[in-house]
Subunit: 232 residues, 2 copies
């Protein structure tokens, strides 16, 4: 990641804190940034606006928002009318697969990113998954990423040539939230542009009580930094 180069990379950008940090890391590594965000039927659109603001702030060659409606099969608090859990203890957040897990989401998003990357002529994808704070999500684990990279090496034109070119970069996978924040601040990321809350009010102000807000606030606290966004 320290080597400067000028090749293209596709970055999955959700508008959250993690993917903003990944965008800054990929830029710092010298890649030309091609950002992809997903309008997948999430409960609110604030994160898509945040994704656009983050991309404009960091500077990308191109950003696309890919539309697909995962509500077609339901099954998650992020796309359904199930209540987002609030005020849970850390021990509850760590146990089991969270209700906010969306079936197959990362596999679907990576597949689409792979298609765009192939069209752009690159085999480099960056994704802000994290196996520390999201240990309950099966598709945030390193073994999943490795398996998907293997799929990419077989599914594509360059895969036919058999040269295992594809690289799914997950620079945050083993970092704590405070380490992620420290890294982003050192690269000048404006976290005031990011959105993390699962259940904001109609004006887009974060609740401060869902799992995502709590992880974020704890991360800023442990990083000895101020979270620049507003809370209700």
């Amino acid at each position: 990641m320290n080597q400067k180069n000028s090749s293209k990379a596709v970055i999955l950008v959700s508008g959250g804190l993690d993917s903003a940090t990944v965008l800054a890391l990929a830029k710092d590594a010298g890649f030309d940034l091609y950002a992809i965000s997903f309008d997948y039927g999430q409960r609110h659109q604030f994160e898509l606006q945040a994704a656009e603001n983050v991309c404009n702030s960091i500077g990308v060659k191109k950003q696309i928002t890919f539309k697909l409606d995962l509500r077609a099969f339901g099954g998650s608090a992020l796309t359904d009318e199930i209540d987002v859990p609030k005020d849970r203890e850390n021990s509850e957040m760590e146990s089991d697969i969270p209700i906010t897990y969306v079936p197959a989401r990362n596999t679907i998003f990576l597949s689409i990113a792979m298609g765009w990357a192939e069209t752009l002529g690159t085999e480099e994808i960056f994704l802000g998954v994290n196996a520390v704070d999201y240990s309950g999500y099966p598709d945030c684990r390193p073994e999943f990423i490795k398996a998907f990279q293997n799929v990419a090496n077989l599914a594509t034109r360059s895969g036919v040539e058999g040269n295992d070119k594809w690289k799914i970069h997950t620079p945050l996978i083993s970092l704590s939230k405070s380490e992620i924040i420290q890294k982003g601040l050192s690269l000048g990321v404006d976290y005031g542009l990011t959105h993390s809350c699962y259940d904001p009010n109609p004006q887009g102000i974060s609740c401060g009580r869902c799992d995502s807000c709590k992880l974020r606030l704890k991360g800023f606290e442990e990083a000895n930094a101020m979270d620049p966004i507003k809370y209700q």
Copy 2:
């Protein structure tokens, strides 16, 4: 596949000859059928109508058409304004990756099918890929299917339990087109409802000259059967 059971299976149904045969095979194996078709920005909608007709004819518990626009990143004759090749010899059809290859298509479709399957509570997916006639498509090869099955076993709730439950069934993968047709006819598939042509006229009548029509016509000829659809 001979064992009769009553579990659910998700079947990818394109409206073509292969997936109609797969649908009949899965039904014959005793599965309750959940059919998924994709409205992905293909050049024409006749195959989606064919998918619906095939599902109604064979009998499914549910059919959904999932919308996503792969034209967002272009790159294929099936989704772009590139001319579909006509009147090619077999030797040309077999060399290289065809222009009709859509980057990442099978990976994207399988990922979405996996998400729906997880929501339905099944780990059984059927897909009509074929490594004989579509040897130029990287994502029709058995090694790709195996790699994707491994992803499914890691990406999902049941994957976390580590019991490798997922099964991507590809009953046609090593069959010739005539063998596929013979199998389908023996199960009563009405191939008159299917659509294969890459470039039909505005009334939906097949051209008879694109790679897909030529493979189909050759298959019926070798199976000593009549293709019930009309050609221009």
